[in-house]
């Protein structure tokens, strides 16, 4: 493992800016690392070595020409395969998009390019971001660098594993119910879900439009903040994008890194204490709470009574939206087409294409959602879930009247063995028990490593009010300054 692959993004950017390492050297080091370990980890679905080296050369040329470089210029980044990349395969982990090369870049990908980052390739994910283990990828599971027999979380297991395996210093994820934070927690990395509308969804292949939030993944809180700053902010092509500047998350991360949380009030959600979480996770969480207290934070308990209904509400809203969002995958204009032999009707071809192209979890959710939106059932299911969503948002608002941020374990359990939960969807859904309320509310949440349980990482989640993303970075950076970062065993 080259020294360059163990550096943080901030360090790499400084090396490149100072001429101590070229962007090409940095990129090549990461491509070498991918070549060395990814057959075991399987974090990537597509590595774009040529494109990455070309982007790196461009950065080096700009530096040689004396141009000012941005704070992440020359830093490699891995992009979850849920974002469109012009001319570069985008599959969303699904057979139905196998071979599709989008004609356009997602806004976030555009911004990554503009920032001078170097896109290494596209990372593995549960098909259409539906899953919590990356086992539902149509292209095989990603493995957790901490234990290759365990899952790396999901849906963004590829991005998290790429960080933990030192294949990339930065990665992009998307979080609909926890798909950035939960993989971050179980791989010992940092994952931040920005405020809904704080990062553009243009070019993010939709799972659940009202919940999907792209965001940064990194190995340190500061790196996550730097990436957040680079990709965030208003996008006129996304009508749900918030027309306000990104909160100063980088300054907040630097402030937190001083290790002082004096005057900060943090709330522990009563409804999350104990229920569902395994003892090892709870023990590490309690130690982290003690650490936060020592850093000067005031800890109080806050009740959010409707959080109990978050999971069932989520599993009506997300499938409902997905049943409509995924209707466009019909073999007519792009991607897979099955059964077009000149004899079959259009409807048959559409049907065969979807039958062959979607995996079991995607079909399950399309069916749940189709049912929940049906005439006569809408009010009882989708309508009722929307009411619950409002109540959960009110819980958050009430809580934030008392505290600056809420904290909880990110996940109820550490990385589980591959295959352990695929036979029971509900057991899989429980992985997102603590992360889902934030998505329903639309606020930001971050997972930061806080310790190990039986040698496996545990994450602490910080949840903040909408457009107060800076607060969670401050708390997360303070905890990180006290507990340090966590390195998996050598691969």
């Amino acid at each position: 493992m080259s020294d360059l692959t163990t550096k943080t993004a901030a360090e790499i950017a400084a090396l490149v800016a100072g001429g101590e390492a070229s962007a090409v050297e940095v990129t090549q080091a990461h491509l070498d690392r991918i070549a060395a370990v990814d057959d075991r980890v399987h974090a990537f679905l597509h590595v774009d070595a040529e494109g990455a080296l070309a982007a790196a050369r461009a950065v080096d040329e700009r530096r040689a020409a004396g141009e000012a470089l941005g704070p992440l210029a020359g830093v490699p980044v891995a992009v979850k395969d849920v974002l469109t990349t012009k001319g570069v395969p985008t599959t969303v982990g699904s057979k139905i998009l196998e071979g599709w090369r989008p004609p356009y870049d997602a806004t976030i990908v555009e911004r990554l390019r503009a920032a001078g980052t170097v896109m290494l390739g596209k990372t593995n994910m549960d098909e259409f971001a539906m899953g919590s283990s990356t086992e539902y990828s149509a292209y095989g599971p990603t493995r957790n660098p901490w234990d290759l027999d365990r899952i790396p979380g999901g849906s963004g297991g590829g991005s998290a594993a790429a960080l933990a395996a030192y294949e990339a210093p930065l990665a992009i994820g998307s979080d609909t119910g926890g798909s950035i934070r939960q993989p971050g927690a179980v791989t010992g990395t940092v994952g931040a879900k920005p405020t809904y509308g704080g990062t553009s969804r243009y070019g993010l292949v939709a799972f659940s439009s009202s919940l999907d939030t792209p965001g940064p993944c990194a190995r340190t809180v500061l790196d996550a903040a730097l990436l957040h700053e680079a990709i965030g902010g208003h996008d006129p092509r996304d009508s749900t994008s918030i027309p306000q500047p990104v909160p100063d998350v980088v300054a907040a991360a630097k402030l937190g890194a001083t290790g002082d949380l004096t005057g900060v009030r943090l709330g522990i959600v009563t409804e999350f204490a104990g229920e569902g979480a395994e003892p090892g996770v709870l023990a590490v969480f309690r130690e982290a709470v003690d650490t936060l207290t020592k850093l000067g934070a005031e800890i109080v308990e806050v009740s959010c009574p409707h959080f109990t209904y978050a999971l069932p509400a989520y599993y009506l809203i997300a499938p409902s939206e997905c049943s409509s969002n995924l209707a466009r995958f019909d073999g007519v204009r792009f991607g897979l087409r099955v059964g077009d032999d000149g004899n079959r009707s259009l409807e048959e071809v559409m049907s065969l294409t979807r039958e062959a192209g979607f995996g079991p979890e995607v079909k399950r959710r399309i069916m749940i959602g189709t049912y929940a939106l049906s005439s006569g059932y809408y009010d009882a299911y989708y309508g009722q879930a929307q009411k619950v969503r409002t109540l959960i948002s009110r819980d958050f608002t009430a809580a934030f009247a008392q505290v600056d941020a809420l904290i909880s374990p990110t996940t109820p359990f550490v990385a589980f063995p591959i295959g352990a939960r695929t036979s029971d969807p509900y057991q899989m859904y429980l992985a997102d028990l603590f992360t889902i309320p934030t998505n329903l509310y639309g606020g930001p949440g971050i997972s930061v490593p806080c310790g190990l349980s039986d040698g496996l990482p545990v994450g602490l989640q910080v949840m903040a009010p909408t457009m107060a993303d800076d607060r969670m970075y401050r708390v997360a950076a303070a905890l990180e300054s006290a507990v340090g970062t966590f390195t998996p065993p050598a691969l």
């Binding site: 469109t84 092509r237 009508s239 939206e321 209707a327 995958f329």
Partner: protein
């Protein structure tokens, strides 16, 4: 089943029709509803498309403000209330010309509700209730090739053109219209005509039925007097004003024959056939399609600022019906005369001609006379005849100045319509101006007298009526470009006879 249709008079004597109209209007915005693609009609297939209107994965819609504004103006012109807060909704169904397999439309929260439009039928004002006006996106167009019928059944290939996909579409739905009786077909036609004129006056669409920028579905049902309304059918493919009228009539006759035979009306979509004038069944709505409507999560709610709506309302143009009233008064026309102006589609043309300086009588004479005749002969719209109101006004001014006679003016107009230039240019180039130069005219008169000494002698001896032959000779030699009255006076003067 072949049944002899009952007579129309018989049907309306025994049944009461209830009609309703759903009209789709393509807005003439520069760009599409949810992306920046151009909306111009025509173009090579699939050249006016982008990731958004093709529904590519990852793309997102952004609502076109100009389309929202146009819809609100239509709503205001139809006396609707404008929602202070409303949302788009997804209408989910699979069809290849619909890129996303859902249409972004509006469902239970339309932008405009509860208005009316007054129309005139046989001199009576009929108030048509407007249920709602909402905004949605158009679909693409599917072309089925290789089959005999051009329909999907039997076709070997289906080609889709997405140029039209995403063009803003306004749907205007009337409340049910009972009580029209025998006049139901005319009421339907009058409504669509008036609606078209209102929308045209707003300048938000070219509302051309033949190009599909105004499309109309006609709902019809029959019931016995005093009984509940009957089951309705929805007739599509109604592509002209005349067809609106014919479709209602044909559906009334068909339904009456079914009911007379003890049958039941099936709630279904029917297709109108321009050639035969009757309707055939389309897809049955018995098993109602479940569109699984839900609020569009990719778009923020629309919340038109009431102050902005008030501004739009204040800036509405004078609506066609009021304008017609005013013009009728200004032009001093009878109801019947005004009706013929309206029917000829000449209101705007006459108004513009008057504005360019012609008298209302003269303007009306040209547009309803010579120009209407030519339009009918060549089968073009009066507005597209090739003469502009300014040219017609100029032509009349030449007549008024004595430079053209009526007959000459018609010849000049022919040249104008043929594209030979302005009336003055045509008159000059074709050398058609009335000969008013007295020297030239006197020479022509003297020539005629010299050439016809016998006739001249008769006139001198008091047979003044004989002068007509000399006038004819002069007119001939001046190729009709002299004013006959002046010629006659000059002849008598030269012959020393008192007129």
């Amino acid at each position: 089943m072949t049944t002899t249709l009952p007579s129309y008079d018989d049907v309306v004597a025994r049944y009461e029709p209830v009609i309703g109209l759903e009209t789709h209007v393509e807005l003439g915005t520069r760009t599409k509803m949810f992306c920046g693609c151009p909306t111009d009609f025509g173009g090579e297939p699939n050249t006016r498309v982008c990731p958004v209107c093709l529904g590519l994965p990852g793309s997102l819609p952004v609502a076109n403000k100009a389309a929202v504004e146009a819809t609100i103006r239509i709503g205001l012109a139809l006396n609707c209330s404008i929602a202070q807060w409303c949302r788009f909704a997804r209408k989910n169904y699979f069809y290849p010309d619909m890129p996303k397999n859902f249409q972004i439309s509006q469902y239970d929260e339309p932008l405009c509700v509860d208005g009316y439009l007054d129309v005139e039928v046989n001199g009576e004002t009929v108030r048509i209730g407007i249920e709602r006006v909402h905004l949605e996106e158009d679909t693409g167009k599917t072309l089925h090739v290789g089959g005999a019928t051009g329909r999907i059944h039997g076709a070997t290939e289906s080609l889709v053109d997405y140029n039209r996909a995403g063009i803003p579409l306004v749907e205007i739905v009337t409340k049910p219209i009972p009580g029209a009786g025998a006049l139901a077909p005319e009421v339907a036609r009058a409504y669509v005509t008036e609606l078209r004129d209102v929308i045209r006056s707003l300048g938000v669409s070219d509302v051309r039925m033949e190009e599909g920028s105004l499309r109309c579905d006609v709902n019809t049902s029959l019931n016995l007097p005093g009984e509940e309304w009957g089951t309705r059918t929805e007739t599509k493919n109604v592509n002209s004003l005349r067809s609106v009228e014919r479709a209602v009539r044909s559906e009334m006759l068909r339904q009456a024959s079914v009911l007379d035979a003890g049958g039941r009306i099936t709630q279904e979509t029917r297709h109108f056939h321009e050639d035969t004038g009757d309707t055939t069944p389309g897809r049955s709505k018995e098993t109602a399609t479940d569109y699984r409507y839900f609020p569009e999560p990719d778009l923020v709610p629309l919340a038109p600022d009431p102050a902005w709506v008030a501004e739009l309302k204040a800036a509405l143009p004078e609506l066609p019906r009021l304008r017609r009233r005013r013009l009728q008064q200004e032009w001093g026309l009878s109801d019947l005369d005004m009706q013929s102006v309206v029917n000829a589609g000449a209101v705007e043309l006459i108004e513009a001609t008057v504005a360019a300086g012609a008298s209302p009588a003269a303007a009306r004479k040209w547009w309803l006379g010579e120009l209407s005749r030519r339009a009918n002969e060549t089968g073009v719209e009066l507005a597209d005849i090739g003469a502009t109101p300014a040219q017609v006004a100029e032509l009349q001014s030449l007549v008024d100045a004595g430079k053209l006679t009526d007959k000459l003016a018609r010849t000049v107009l022919e040249g104008v319509v043929a594209g030979e230039g302005s009336p003055t240019e045509v008159m000059t180039n074709r050398n058609l101006e009335v000969v008013s130069d007295t020297g030239a005219l006197t020479a022509a008169v003297d020539e005629a007298i010299a050439a016809n000494p016998d006739i001249a002698e008769k006139v001198r001896s008091g047979k003044v009526a004989a002068a007509g032959a000399l006038v004819g000779a002069v007119m001939k030699s001046t190729r009709g470009q002299a004013d006959a009255k002046s010629v006659r006076e000059l002849i008598l003067e030269r012959l020393g006879v008192q007129g």
